[in-house]
Amino acid sequence: MARTLLCEIVTPERILYTSEVRMVVATTLGGEVGILPLHAPLVTQLAPGEVRLQFGDSASEWEFFSISGGYLQVHEDKVIVLADDAIAVSQIDMQRAKESVDRVKELLAELPPDSEDERQEFLRDLSWAETQLKTAEKRGA
């Protein structure tokens, strides 16, 4: 049995996923990183996008997640992905994500110019919906 990594995907509300994996690939601010066992200790910021986990040797043994950005910490074969929002790609509801993109865009257009707090919030919702759409499309959901 090849050496494995323990990978946890944690959101503020719960632990979304935890499992032994062969490799973790995540999107950092600077591009994708692949984490294999025996990786050096690392803390990095993640950009909104995909996190994928490889289980076996064949290309089919992958699992895909969409995250809204966060952090990744590697420590002695344990990888913790901290994300504000995260969802398994198979769980993404394309219909809903599309509707939410449209709705948030409408709301943004109608927003009075002085409500900076709301604008930030809508932009974050928008970015999260778009991230879900993008990763779902890429994986042919």
Partner: protein, 298 residues
Amino acid sequence: MATLRDIKNRITSVHSTRQITRTMEMVSTAKIRKAQARIENARPYALAISEVLGNVVKNVSDVTHPLLEVREERSRIVLLAVTSDRGLAGAFNSNIIRMTERMMREFTDQGVEVELVTVGKKAAGYFRYRGIEPAMTLAGMSDKPTYEHARQLAVRVMDQYGDCSIDAVYLLFNRFKNLAEQKPESHQLLPIEHSVLTDAEADVEARGRNLEYFFEPTSESVLASLLPTYVEALIYRSLLESAASEHGARRTAMKSATDNATEMISTLTRSYNRARQAAITTEIAEIVGGAAALEDQA
């Protein structure tokens, strides 16, 4: 003197009150469990954030960040008071409100302006009634707070702190100690106290995780984005604790209400029986008296 029917009516009404309080007690018991589970679920994230924070602090020689900057002169501060939307929870809300008022007085006496941010209808209602309009309120979510709510609050106070329109933020909420006990607490939220960082660092070292980390892009930028996340997680945690406390306080309040109702019913039943017996005795006395009078005539 209460008539028999009066007493009977009261017994019936206390009975139905007891039914309601007993149901509320059971509902709260069920909700505490869910709220506790939510606290448990939020723990891994908070732990991981503070672990990463500890690692970063260890690796950054000069820790500076706007949210850490302590200002000597305070001209305006924010009190963030977390209460519930509904009452009937004993002293749950009044404890927080009283604490908020006390801190307001203390700061006002020192010549510091106080701005209020409230969570829950109770605090907002109380202060509005007294002519103090909260600068921001969140309501209608006190028993089911989400991370999004915490973020809204965090963003608001951090923005104000960042542009120097406020100089400190205090968080007041009920900590959930156990099923029967809630403790109102106040904490300084901003500026983030340096002890938070040194504690996180000491914690990392205590667990023997003394490793050299690589940081991407840089340790400074990780720190800069981690601190706001830390504040969000802290607020989220206090919202969750407050939600669990609310159900705990309500359960205790409803339990004693149910007990009181039971006692009242037994007292009332006793006086009902006594009144009934008195009526019967009077009646017999009248009959006997009447009979005796008839016999005398015969």
